[in-house]
């Protein structure tokens, strides 16, 4: 018996040693950035790298997959990536509107409100890209407790210009290429039920490392918060999984004295108890505010001109970082924030018009730099918003310089089918306000297509601007709500009955008249007995034919 067990054990070890062991690395970081308006932007990044790994080739989906062994990489996510042969995956769940003018560019560019998922995958698999895209959504929806299943064909686009691969794409045998699928659900909210499964994917979830700070009570109390999953393949390096959490806290709101002082404990309600033992690197960076006058405790391990860093080493003691302005009795809110934006581009998107049949889409962009900027403008609109492209106008100052707008790709919407996709290049002159406007038509939906809270309106996904120079970090506009005309939801039977009655009446009367004979009937008083009264004079046209 024992010998048998030993043989089985030995064979298992043998199989295990036969599979190539992949080297995995785990890095974690936290960046804290005090902002001009007293808030603190925090950015957690947990990066797992499988050295030498390659994404599953699409054509291999026909065969059984090799067994998967990971030490640090989350198996639940790895299985999804292998099952659908995903080359690159990006999922973001955000709540709130990132204020670029006050907070600058976020640590992770994907800050559009709601859920956003985009995936690059190769074709040439036995199942279509769209079927795998659907499967990916459902698997991720199950993993992260989100309603990603609502990303149907009506919301899926392929904006390859605005969402190029973040890593590299493996070469596929011709004629197969990589395809992009992108969808967003602007009304999707993010909460604890999404964070819990997210934390489970981390090697050191709550007990150690910077992830110990991820306290849902504080995170979801923040002014802005978002979760992100990014998987990409970097040629020569391997498959990289980057899990991010971003939150903008308001210490002024949380402090009873109205001060902007913060500590890790005041922000997160926790401190870092110990370092994560499996992390290759673990560091906390604090960006130093420009105005000075603050005290930072404890002493950092590294000091740079605009930031300091703390390295969490094994054997460290409990760490709490604090920053306080000892001279400041109360934080005085700067009033000139909107006039001095710190972002390169200020953008505002609005819908205008009170009617439920038409409206105007207006995008106002301002270049805050001294040099002209070239940006890619991406607009994805659900099919029930039909843009009139011929009314698209670009205004800069009082002129209408059409040369500012070019290189346009447009996919018109298909009713009950697929959304509008508009990608165009805009040139923003320095310190100028550029206004892009277009008229649109609102469609009328079937009563079964309306959501249960039909009167609330429909969320339109945010537009995306991608500067074509520099870091090419995407800028998301506001997600807007559009009001569509609703039918009466209690009426289906009544409408069917009344319309059919009218049609049947006309049908009946028409055929009655066309088929029955005309007769002349005596209707005068009876004069010569009943015989006369019943006399009928048939002079129907049909008789004379």
């Amino acid at each position: 018996m024992h010998i048998h067990a030993l043989i089985i054990l030995a064979s298992l070890i043998g199989i295990n040693s036969a599979t190539p062991t992949q080297e995995e690395e785990y890095h974690e970081s936290l960046t804290l950035r005090p902002l001009r308006d007293g808030k603190v932007a925090t950015h957690f990044a947990f990066t797992t790298l499988i050295r030498g790994a390659v994404p599953r080739a699409p054509h291999s989906l026909a065969d059984d997959d090799v067994s998967q062994h990971y030490t640090l990489f989350p198996l639940a996510l790895g299985q999804i990536l292998r099952e659908y042969a995903i080359t690159e995956l990006h999922l973001n769940l955000n709540a709130g509107q990132w204020d670029y003018d006050r907070w600058g560019q976020p640590g992770e560019p994907a800050v559009g409100s709601g859920a956003e998922l985009w995936v690059w995958m190769g074709d040439g698999a036995p199942t279509s890209v769209d079927a795998r895209w659907k499967g990916t959504q459902n698997a991720l929806a199950g993993l992260f407790c989100t309603s990603l299943g609502g990303m149907d064909a009506q919301r899926t686009t392929s904006p390859t210009r605005a969402f190029p691969p973040a890593g590299n794409l493996p070469r596929l045998s011709a004629p197969h290429t990589h395809r992009l699928r992108h969808a967003s659900l602007p009304a999707e909210s993010v909460c604890t039920e999404n964070l819990t499964p997210f934390l489970k994917l981390l090697p050191c979830p709550v007990q150690a490392g910077v992830a110990a700070l991820l306290n849902p009570h504080r995170l979801f109390d923040a002014d802005w918060h978002g979760l992100g999953i990014d998987v990409r393949w970097i040629a020569g390096k391997g498959v990289e999984l980057r899990m991010t959490v971003q939150a903008v806290f308001d210490p002024v709101r949380m402090s009873s004295e109205g001060k902007r002082d913060w500590t890790l404990r005041s922000l997160f309600g926790r401190v870092i108890p110990r370092a994560c033992p499996v992390a290759s690197s673990s560091r906390i960076t604090v960006d130093l505010p420009a105005d000075g006058g603050f005290v930072l405790l404890p002493d950092p391990s590294e000091i740079y001109p605009t930031s300091v860093a703390f390295n969490l080493a094994r054997g460290m003691e409990e760490l709490d970082i604090s920053m306080h302005w000892s001279q400041e009795v109360r934080f005085s809110y700067p009033l000139d924030l909107t006039s001095t934006p710190i972002s390169a581009i200020s953008v505002d998107r609005t819908l205008k018009g009170a009617s439920q049949t038409h409206g105007d889409l207006a995008l106002v962009l301002r270049n805050n730099l001294h040099t002209p900027q070239r940006v890619l403008y991406l607009e994805t609109l659900p099919w029930y918003i039909e843009l009139y492209l011929h009314t698209l106008s670009v205004e800069c100052g009082h002129s209408r310089p059409y040369e500012l707008f070019g290189n346009l790709t447009y996919t018109p919407p298909v009713p009950h089918g697929s959304p509008t996709l508009l990608q165009a290049e805009l040139i923003l002159p320095p310190h100028e306000r550029v206004r892009v406007a277009a008229r649109f038509r609102k469609s009328f939906l079937r009563y079964t297509e309306h959501p249960p809270d039909a009167q609330r309106g429909w969320d339109l996904p945010p537009a995306v601007l991608v500067p074509e120079q520099g870091a090419r970090a995407r800028v998301y506009t506001r997600a807007v709500l559009v009001d569509l005309a609703t039918p009466d939801f209690s009426m289906p039977y009544n409408v069917i009955i009344m319309t059919c009655t009218l049609a049947a009446l006309v049908f009946g009367f028409v055929f009655n008249m066309l088929t029955r004979k005309f007769v002349v009937v005596y209707v005068g008083e009876k004069k010569e007995g009943d015989a006369r009264a019943l006399e009928r004079v048939e002079r129907s046209p049909s008789k004379e034919m």
Partner: protein, 403 residues
């Protein structure tokens, strides 16, 4: 120049001035005046996409016939040019209507001025024209087809009808009565019914000729757009109703409120329902095919998938071609009042629903039902009068009824 001609000139001038005053700009997408198949902004969107190398039929915004594309791509988008063009089209329609009357009456009684002005000042026709709805083009082509049929000029008649059918598929249902009209004459035989006497062997070449024109135009449309995608977007729209934009017809709300699993069935029923009237009406009015055409114009206006006021307007204006039936109409006042009622309620309730937000969709649906009842009443009365006239006068003590 006679007083009548001056009157006409004044009317045309007034219409042109009104059109040039651009009051129609705000009406361009009015749901009563322009359906998804003939709204002008959609036409401009289509030509814009066409000119920029994007297939206009890849989306659902543009549902006009491809035959519009080359012309409107060439025509500059000027409201003044449009005002003149649409007024001209309406003048052509009015002229065709007068020609139809002349062919029917043999030029005995001069009602030309009355007829032309009835076309030009009919609000159901005038407002869609102000809104630059291409329904005016559909009407003009249809009237031209009838005019040439009355004058027994086969090629132009069939070509106009083929063109009209390209622009609006339900117009093809008028082929049988127009064929009868081509092969007989336009004179009024309502009072003296007789069987259709022309040999049926004459029908086949004419039908073939029609389908030759139709195929040529279809081929031209396909070449112009470089594919067949246009057919699903234009003709297909009338069969599967992808766009549920409100209109004064019966389809849109019915299919907005339809249960999803019954939708294909009822789409089939509603399409068949349009077909079912053609043969009976043509058989019953074989002695007077112009009257059969008139009745079918009314039925199509009422039951087509995307009607506008212009469709009903054409039917009501064609009433003026048949003065001999007036004395046999049973309830013209009721019909007229129903039309007045619908004409006032439709824009009002539409605004309350989608504009002011104080009413709901049922308000507009109710007024479109009233409009349907008014149209149905007019059609039924016209059929009655057209049949009753054959019985002639009866004494005071007698009444005419159906067995």
């Amino acid at each position: 120049m006679s007083a009548g001609r001056w009157t006409l000139l004044y009317i045309v001038a007034a219409r042109l001035l009104l059109a040039l005053s651009l009051i129609g700009e705000s009406l361009k997408e009015d749901h009563q005046l322009a359906s998804p198949l003939n709204a002008y902004p959609r036409l401009r969107e289509g030509t814009y996409l066409f000119n920029h190398g994007i297939s206009p039929y890849s989306g659902g915004t543009f549902r006009h016939s491809p035959l519009f594309l080359p012309f409107f791509s060439w025509l500059p988008d000027s409201p003044y040019l449009n005002a003149s063009l649409w007024t001209l089209v309406d003048c052509i329609s009015a002229w065709a209507l007068v020609s139809i009357w002349n062919a029917r009456s043999g030029g005995v009684r001069s009602r030309g001025v009355l007829l032309a002005s009835m076309y030009l000042i009919n609000p159901y026709l005038f407002l869609p024209s102000l809104a630059t709805s291409t329904a005016s083009f559909d009407n003009a082509l249809l009237l031209l087809a009838i005019k040439f049929a009355c004058e027994r000029r086969t090629p132009p008649c069939l070509f106009s009808l083929a063109f009209a059918s390209q622009l609006s598929l339900p117009s093809i249902l008028l082929l049988p009565p127009i064929l009868l009209l081509l092969l007989s004459d336009a004179k009024s035989h309502l009072a003296s019914p007789k069987s259709f006497s022309t040999s049926y062997s004459a029908v086949a070449p004419v039908v073939l000729e029609f389908f030759a024109y139709f195929a040529t135009l279809t081929g031209a449309a396909t070449i112009a757009t470089g594919g067949w995608s246009w057919a699903a977007n234009t003709w297909g729209a009338g069969l599967i109703l992808p766009d549920l934009t409100p209109n004064p017809g019966l389809w849109w709300y019915f299919f907005t409120e339809m249960f999803d699993h019954f939708r294909p069935f009822f789409l089939m029923v509603f399409s068949m329902h349009l077909l079912i009237y053609v043969a009976p009406v043509c058989i019953k009015f074989q002695h007077d095919p112009l009257y059969a055409t008139f009745i079918l114009v009314g039925l199509i206006a009422m039951f087509k998938p995307y009607p506008t006021l212009a469709d009903a307007g054409l039917f009501l204006t064609m009433f003026t071609l048949f003065p001999e039936t007036y004395r046999y109409l049973r309830y013209p006042i009721v019909t007229a009042l129903l039309h007045l009622h619908a004409f006032l309620l439709l824009p009002l309730f539409h605004h309350l629903w989608v504009g002011a937000g104080t009413g709901n969709a049922n308000f507009f649906y109710a007024s479109s039902l009233v409009f349907g009842v008014a149209n149905g009443g007019a059609i039924l009365d016209a059929i009655w009068a057209g049949l009753r006239i054959a019985v002639g006068e009866v004494g005071e003590d007698y009444a005419v009824m159906q067995e």
